[in-house]
């Protein structure tokens, strides 16, 4: 039997609908069909600005005004933007109306038609005032405030947060409640990731601000581009081409490099979600460095200055250094943190007052382990002949002399100048 369905696709076929069985079989029940359901229509302000709002309802109408729903709090918008001041919006205007069409009362009736008629019969008495039509008029001195002090007060949190600010660094806000986050000791947590943007906002006027943000984004992008390029190069050239597949055509390695780029960007997106659980990006970066850079530092130092170091020693040392970092990180926890990406996954043996303290001890454990293991394994394995180490180990490499160059072409004097400037500026702005 030949099926024609595939040839023509879905066109002309009878398709069985599977969604919403209750609606398809006529068994749906709607709120409007409930006997207790009522219709609501709003009475709206006919003027753009006014005060002393009085609502006169027709005989027998069921009317809800702002005075009767004081238990309902005004709607407060939530928008996470710099310098954004949320203005509470009342559900029904009371005393003051601020735009044409602002609801001042709700009429409740049994049918839509009756509710609409009653709403139209309702008279609203408003003492009209001069509306603010432009932002320039609103910003002029002596202009009436659109949001009254009472509306602004309803926005303020019931228990005001004690201010703890260091310079212009803002507090970190809970993304769900919009309230400042607090650490284990009840202090407000500051959002150091916003230090640079806030500095730009604070000191730069419009004009230079755009240039500053552009420069900031450009540096992010160039840093990202550099890291992605480094990632796919190291993977494709140093690992894939050297150890996994040799002698393939260039197009093969090019494709592998492109895949590595996509993969690397995907990893960094995942890492961003992990980083979001840290207070700032520096804390997370230090943790990564404790795992990767701390043992690598011991390997580099030994490799550069100790001719007796061997490849086996370096590899064993590096791996055991990373393992030591994992063991230390897995057995400790910063105060107030939960077991997970912040440590403690091997059982919490000790706690540290902060994440940075834990990270530094992790780095120390990793460095010391790598240093000791590299030395021990190097001494147990066969040394490399000295002639192979020329240009690699400091003691076996001829030193370049730069006596012939002028002082500003030599790194030494320049380093002294930079260091002096750094110390002096830090002392001035301490």
């Amino acid at each position: 039997m030949v099926s024609h369905a595939n040839r023509g696709g879905w066109v002309g076929r009878s398709l069985r609908r599977v969604e919403d069985p209750a609606l398809l079989t006529g068994q749906g029940r709607f709120t409007g069909d409930l006997p207790a359901a009522k219709w609501v229509r709003f009475v709206r302000s006919p003027v753009a600005a006014g005060r002393n709002v009085r609502v006169l309802a027709p005989e027998g109408a069921m009317l809800v005004t702002a005075a009767e729903i004081t238990v309902l709090r005004p709607i407060v918008p939530m928008l996470h933007k710099f310098k954004y001041a949320p203005i509470a919006q009342p559900i029904l205007a009371r005393d003051v109306v601020r735009f044409v069409g602002e609801p001042v009362a709700a009429v409740v009736a049994d049918s839509r038609e009756v509710a609409e008629d009653l709403a139209e019969c309702t008279t609203v008495e408003i003492e009209e005032t001069t509306p603010l039509v432009t932002t320039t008029a609103a910003l002029a001195p002596g202009a009436p405030a659109v949001a009254s002090a009472a509306a602004a007060a309803t926005v303020a949190p019931a228990n005001p947060v004690p201010e703890r600010r260091e310079g212009i660094v803002p507090p970190k806000l809970d993304p769900r409640t919009g309230e400042p986050l607090r650490d284990a000791r009840g202090r407000v947590v500051l959002d150091y990731d916003l230090a640079t943007p806030m500095m730009l906002m604070h000191f730069f006027p419009a004009g230079l601000l755009g240039l500053g943000l552009t420069a900031l984004l450009a540096s992010f992008m160039s840093g990202m581009a550099g890291n992605v390029t480094a990632f796919n190069t190291v993977w494709t050239y140093d690992l894939y081409q050297s150890y996994i597949r040799r002698g393939a055509p260039d197009s093969h390695y090019l494709a592998m490099g492109r895949f590595a780029t996509v993969f690397g960007v995907a990893i960094s997106i995942v890492a961003a979600y992990v980083a979001a659980s840290f207070n700032n990006i520096m804390d997370f970066l230090q943790l990564v460095f404790a795992f990767v850079n701390a043992p690598l530092f011991a390997t580099f130092a030994l490799g550069m200055f100790w001719p007796r170091a061997t490849g086996h020693g370096a590899f064993t040392g590096l791996v055991s250094g990373i393992l030591a970092a994992a063991v230390h990180h897995g057995m400790s926890l910063p105060a107030g943190a939960h077991v997970g990406v912040k440590g403690g996954y091997f059982g919490v043996v000790t706690t540290y007052p902060s994440e940075l303290a834990q990270t530094f001890w992790t780095a120390i454990a990793a460095w010391v382990t790598c240093f000791v293991v590299t030395i021990v394994v190097s001494l147990l394995t066969r040394p490399r002949p000295a002639e192979q180490l020329h240009g690699l180990v400091y003691g076996l490499t001829p030193k370049p002399t730069d006596d012939v160059k002028r002082w500003y072409e030599r790194p030494g004097p320049l380093a002294v100048i930079v260091l002096t400037l750094t110390v002096a500026l830090n002392l001035i702005f301490f």
Partner: protein, 68 residues
């Protein structure tokens, strides 16, 4: 021969500097444009413009020298 990097560099800084200088001069003294009390738009505009022009000048000189 590759492109002389000083040309696009000078053009970029020159255009940005010109924009910022004009904007800074036009909004001089208006509220909100000088949060630190310094006409920073104008000053930085002039600095960027000068740097851009200097780069363009160097590029022009090098091109003339290579032609001769």
């Amino acid at each position: 021969m590759g492109i002389d990097l000083r040309m696009p560099l000078g053009a970029l800084f020159g255009v940005l500097g010109l924009l910022l200088t004009l904007y800074g001069a036009a909004t001089r003294g208006q509220p909100g444009t000088e949060p630190t009390g310094v006409p920073v738009n104008l000053i930085w505009g002039v600095v960027l413009l000068a740097f851009g022009l200097w780069m363009l000048l160097l590029a022009r000189r090098a091109r003339r020298a290579s032609k001769m």
